[in-house]
Symmetry: C2
């Protein structure tokens, strides 16, 4: 078990508030470190592979959206099952710089390495590795390698490779390569060679067994080479190229070699001791859904020409400047806690690496850092990433929403296949088509429609960007509202409420249920937001409204229907137990005996048949509890406590999406120790590889979630319907935290300490916010200081100690049972906050 008070080996990873630093290389955990030291800009990314190639867990270079398709073959077919599998392509690897001294190759795991340090700097955005190699003949060689993927120049990476002989002269050869490993071309690259045969794991990518990248183009000329490909089935194009230069006082010569899957530029240097050699490799990737490779090659040339002309220093300076801006908007400070500060900044840095230049693409579950989940886009983006971006990098949030807008056509088609009106967004996709082959935990998660609408609404409220809505984003709201209005139904006998049946909520350990609470409250919000948006647009911009109404054939009756459905949406509530059941039948199930489930049976999904898991009250991840956060104004404090008390002991956290949400609500209801436990579990999920799959890539949703856990959880911020409120929950042993919010163009800094919170406008004019019920307008130049009498309720113990106890069943075995809770709960749900 990982010691959560000190989850990182600080000998190997010393604390640095602005960098992840490694002082020792280990071939044993390359999969993990390749992910932790990956660099990327949201468009493309390079895993932290050893620069010299050779050894590696997964040699990986990923371009957002560059995918191959394959026909999904279902073992047993049914109508409407997803047809088109999509898998991110591992692009040709331009990271490789092989070095030979006196013809001896440098192989990090076999070489005698005298000194070693690797550093991913969050302020410069550069990954650098310095080491001294003692060659078999005893010569010491200083090798300094660095790489960066430019945030400002979307298609550019810069690699520098410095070699200095410390003792004696020698012949030095540096071979800079681009290698397409598609068919295992290079026998020297031993990726995964040491790992055991793989067990099934649905979280990994489908592996592509046929050749994906068909060579279409190659060129080598004057220190620049380029390789062009077209994917076999998806018909996408890709060109990658590199441009080389050398600075040294030593004598050298160069040569190039080009083949379909390998480009080499080789420097042969007669190196003198202490005369440094610096090789600079500018790399460019361009890809497209159909532009010919020749055209992409021109684009590569333009990128490389400019980069070469400006030089590496300019690229590095721009990177630093871009990140200065980023941190100004995004940084979160944990006063006097350098270990946590470092981890938090690593997470926020990953957020930028996954999303900054995604531009028209989505943000994949692993960003551009690995192949996990096949490079697919999920609801993670909308629920865990976009809320952060909306308050820190609104343009990135807007771009991610534009991606959803761009796949409305496919989503309409999918809704039709599922017999529904409107649009049903794919549960997992790259191309826009549904790619989820297991519908019970895929297509059945209709809530993705509401998740996307939620992210759009939050973006609009945070930015006030009405123009975006008028330019077509409103179509998302209308088409999703239509889907809900059609999917649900009015029960004619009984309660005459609006019900939604046969769906799966966020918790995938229960599937295809009736009236999932999360789905229903989120759909309600979706319906209300759509009605509000349509009516506001009609009032404010009749021309845009009428254009939209015509485009979507929208009639007034529909909007009325949405509001009726929202008003009468069925919200399951169990008066006896005093909680919101996860779905209409959840409480009728047996309770899984989680305390007595051995660790080797976790996560459950890898050790139990779905039928077994589905039969019990047990959660993969927060479901009702997520609703308590996202739609917190619909629930009373007492309900939140009761619900959290009930669900927290049933939640395995087998999904990394869970901890951050549990942390936020634990903080709100008063379980401060528990909030901290979940916060730490999220903060170190990758850094300490808590889920044992960091090698597949960064858990991007969790990195976004850490900002939320800090700002919404300990910070106590809420933004329901655009009303900013603050009710802080600073942990008792923390000095303070500082975070920033950009709201409608103005950036406010929040300095929270135990006794007070200080609100300061750093940029722009003013921000309105209520602190514990008292409204403040914070204006530029006039910081507001609010005294705090406390940091919220403090509950002792954990929910599990209160809510579960052993009982004996008929056959004598002990089961865990739910015990009715003791405090009074209101019978009625809060009214729907009017949305219009």
């Amino acid at each position: 078990m990982t010691d959560m008070t000190n989850p990182l080996d600080r000998q190997r990873y010393p604390v640095d508030e602005w960098a992840l630093v490694e002082t020792e290389f280990s071939p044993a955990d390359m999969g993990r470190t390749e992910t932790l030291f990956a660099v990327g800009n949201g468009y493309f990314g390079m895993r932290g592979n050893v620069t010299e190639g050779r050894e590696g867990h997964t040699h990986g270079t990923f371009i957002n959206g560059l995918h191959e398709t394959w026909p999904i073959r279902h073992a047993e077919e049914a109508y409407g099952f997803a047809r088109v599998g999509q898998t991110i392509v591992n692009a040709p690897d331009a990271k490789i710089m092989r070095v030979y001294v006196d013809d001896e190759p440098f192989l990090i795991s076999e070489a005698e390495v005298l000194d070693y340090s690797r550093r991913l700097d969050f302020r410069t955005g550069v990954l650098s590795r310095d080491l001294v190699w003692r060659t078999p003949s005893g010569k010491r060689v200083l090798i300094q390698a660095s790489r960066m993927v430019s945030f400002s120049d979307r298609h550019l990476a810069v690699i520098q490779y410095d070699v200095t002989l410390l003792d004696a002269d020698a012949s030095v050869v540096v071979s800079s390569q681009i290698l397409n490993r598609q068919d295992g071309t290079d026998e020297y690259d031993r990726a995964k060679s040491t790992t055991a045969p793989e067990q099934f794991d649905p979280r990994k990518a489908e592996s592509l067994t046929e050749r994906v990248l068909q060579p279409r183009f190659k060129r080598a000329d004057g220190g620049r080479y380029m390789l062009g490909y077209r994917t076999t089935n998806s018909n996408m194009t890709l060109v990658c190229g590199a441009d080389h230069s050398i600075e040294t006082e030593n004598a050298w010569e160069e040569s190039s070699h080009i083949a379909d899957d390998l480009a080499k530029h080789v420097y042969r240097i007669k190196a003198k001791a202490n005369k440094p050699i610096r090789i600079t490799k500018m790399v460019s990737y361009h890809s497209s859904r159909g532009v010919p490779t020749r055209e992409l090659a021109d684009r590569c040339d333009r990128t490389l020409d400019r980069a070469r002309a400006e030089g590496a220093e300019t690229a590095v300076a721009r990177q630093r400047s871009w990140l200065d801006d980023y941190w100004q908007r995004t940084d979160v400070e944990l006063h006097g806690q350098p270990e946590l500060q470092q981890a938090m900044r690593w997470n926020l840095f990953q957020l930028a690496q996954a999303s900054a230049r995604a531009d028209g693409q989505g943000v994949a579950a692993k960003g551009v850092s690995g192949t996990g989940y096949g490079g697919h886009y999920f609801w993670d983006t909308e629920i865990y990433v976009l809320p952060v971006l909306s308050y820190t990098s609104p343009i990135a949030a807007r771009n991610a929403l534009r991606f959803r807008q761009s796949i409305l056509g496919e989503s309409r088609t999918r809704a039709k296949e599922l017999n529904q009106h409107g649009a049903l967004f794919p549960w997992r996709t790259i191309s826009g088509q549904e790619s989820s082959a297991y519908y019970a935990a895929g297509t059945a998660q209709y809530h993705i429609d509401a998740d996307i609408s939620y992210a759009l609404s939050q973006y609009l409220l945070a930015t006030g960007d009405r123009d975006f809505l008028a330019r077509g984003a409103i179509d998302i709201l209308v088409e999703t509202a239509r889907m809900w209005a059609d999917l649900g139904f009015w029960r004619t006998n009984g309660d005459s409420a609006f019900h939604i049946h046969g769906v799966t909520g966020p918790d995938e350990y229960t599937t295809v249920v009736n009236d999932n609470l999360y789905t229903n409250v989120m759909a309600r919000s979706n319906l209300g937001a759509a009605a509000h948006a349509v009516r506001t647009l009609r009032r404010d911009d009749p021309v845009a409204h009428s254009r939209m109404a015509k485009r979507l054939a929208l009639h007034d009756g529909e909007v009325d229907e949405w509001l009726r459905a929202a008003e009468r949406m069925y919200i399951p509530f169990d008066k006896t137990v005093g909680i919101h059941p996860q779905d209409a039948q959840f409480l009728e199930k047996e309770v899984w005996d989680l305390p007595n489930t051995p660790p080797d049976k976790r996560p459950l999904l890898l050790h139990y048949h779905p039928l077994v898991i589905y039969r019990f009250q047990v959660l993969k991840q927060a479901d009702v509890v997520l609703a308590l956060f996202l739609q917190g104004d619909l629930f009373t404090d007492e309900q939140k406590l009761a619900d959290f008390d009930y669900y927290d002991p049933l939640t395995t956290g087998d999904s990394t999406l869970s901890a951050v949400v549990q942390s936020i609500i634990a903080a709100e209801v008063g379980y401060q120790e528990l909030a901290m436990k979940y916060f730490m579990a999220g903060l170190f999920v990758d850094l300490a590889d808590l889920h044992h799959n960091t090698s597949d890539g960064v858990h991007v949703a969790s990195t976004g979630g850490m900002w939320s856990a800090l700002v919404f959880g300990f910070g106590g911020l809420r933004d329901h319907n655009g009303n900013l409120t603050l009710d802080p929950r600073l942990p008792a042993d923390w000095d303070g935290i500082t975070f920033r919010l950009t709201v409608k163009g103005s950036r406010m800094r929040v300095d929270l300490v135990q006794e007070s919170v200080t609100l300061t406008i750093e940029e722009g004019t003013e921000v309105s916010i209520a602190v514990r019920g008292v409204h403040h307008t914070v204006e530029a130049g006039s910081p507001v200081v609010v005294s705090l009498a406390h940091q919220g309720p403090r509950l002792k113990g954990t929910p599990s100690s209160k809510r579960i106890e052993g009982e004996r069943r008929a056959d004598g075995s002990v089961i865990t049972a739910t015990v009715p809770i003791s405090w009074p709960i209101g019978d009625d749900l809060p009214e729907l906050t009017a949305v219009d």
Copy 2:
């Protein structure tokens, strides 16, 4: 639409009470007629392909249990998903007799055929086809082909091919072949060449794309040839051989040819006009799970030696004699109704063809007549076939149950994979391993355990075969009871009943539900039967009991637990609507608008995503209504009527398993016209191809179900807990019916007419039966005549007219809704009939 009053074209298929006769060949519906004219004995079967090969929809020869395996590749993996796909192998085709006259081949669809008649005789068990061919040069040739698969000699088929020139001399060549079409070896065989590209249909077999039969052995010598194979993955062996003889006064010569996939024996005859040529081909198939092909070849030799020595006449005579016995036990007479009589006997003949010599194998959904459902064994056998066999061919029922006993090991393993104690029988299998790749409508159908126990209990009650139980069949009851006791749970709050969650009932249009009524009542019966069997065995045969208890590590507490669970089994009942819900949540779902679903959207499973179907109250097949039949003593007459009224209008009958059950209960509750409608739908399901997939093979369960529909439905027989009762429901316009029952070794004939029923012992000593509550012991030589005042209640109209009416939903569209029924329903369930 098929005219159900006269579903067969009587020009083409004239009425014959003891045969299916075809007077005209059509290439348009070969798939259907190949199935209708198939011959088989339950061990192996030959489709009714044209003897000369060439044209065909599916050239098919199937050996029960001869299957290939393949790894099931799930598009998205999960723990415990079925791993081993199993598909019946299309064995080498020994039916082929090609004929050439003056070197012109006979091709039935292109030839000028002057006369044509094909006849499948239910009494002789021989398929014969007579025709006159006018060759292109104008010569008329009489060709008479016949084939039979022996019921008495399990591995033998006899083919006779007679050619007589009617006008003039000619050279005649007859080429008798065995052809392994595995790789499409014969370009002249145009199977399926005229059909459109196939649409997906989950009811069809998975097609095997790799070579399945690896040649291991071949031999040709003295008019006999033999081909031996081993299957690529499943490692099964197969040898098929044939032995030839010729009778003619013409001069002839013969030659043989043998290759890996083709054996030929060719007769060249200098034929004179009116000098007949008769070629007899004895065919033998032997297969095994591992015996080497050389050993199987020896077995083939022995079969062929004996058959040759005895001659074809003996084989034909034995076939006739076997069938005489069969009909004596099995025949059902419909007085004065030759059309229905013919159809009924065709169905009963299929029952023999599917089950007679299955011996240690199961009875596949299509018997040995086609590839539908991959040659798999399902619950169909136990619920639709075994009850018939138990009363007519008990040895065949016993053999089928022994098959289940033989796969107890695999079923224990499967239970473990599903986290349960005891044994869980595979939903679909050939080898014993679960092969159902879609768990929601597969593995989740836990009721298969109860279905098998039910069939075993009914067999024991019908035969009194205690020896079978003591010899190990009791293990089935014990291991299935254990599964139920472990699967279900005691709800600790609320009703303290025994609940079974997360299962699918027989109706596959609703899956993975809680407390499926059918499952719960059948599990209750299973638990009771197991307890009863264990206690009876302890009393009657303490040695066998103690051996069993040791073998299964059974302790007394378990039996008590089974009885407790049975006694407190939760039986869902809705007091408001007054019916038994199909499952705990069934009535909360929206009602599917079946009357307004267009015919081109049927069956629903081919036109709607499962998620859509599952969301509604709509049934693929009888579910509660099946429970009303199988466990009829648990329900009052009023409950049966209410339940039938409710479910019948919601039932699509998209499964052929439904009509027979609906017919039986419609007859019982008093919907006589409806009972007749469903009876006809079952009787002609294949003969009139009502489900458009007869080409995939005979619906064997439905053929068994027809006996049930007549005996249990119109005959009104019931046998709950072994108590035979009769409450007839003879249709008003029928003169009478006669059927036979073999009960504990005595055979009783039942002659039912409108005014009375006469019970006569045909063989054995006596049978006990109650007619409308009055008990009779019918003794040999003393027929009992009971007067009947009526034939049960007669209700007017149909359930649909009473139970469904239009309502308007919020958006203005009309939905169909359930209307509470008007007659009083008792609140309480009947007590469990004591099983010990």
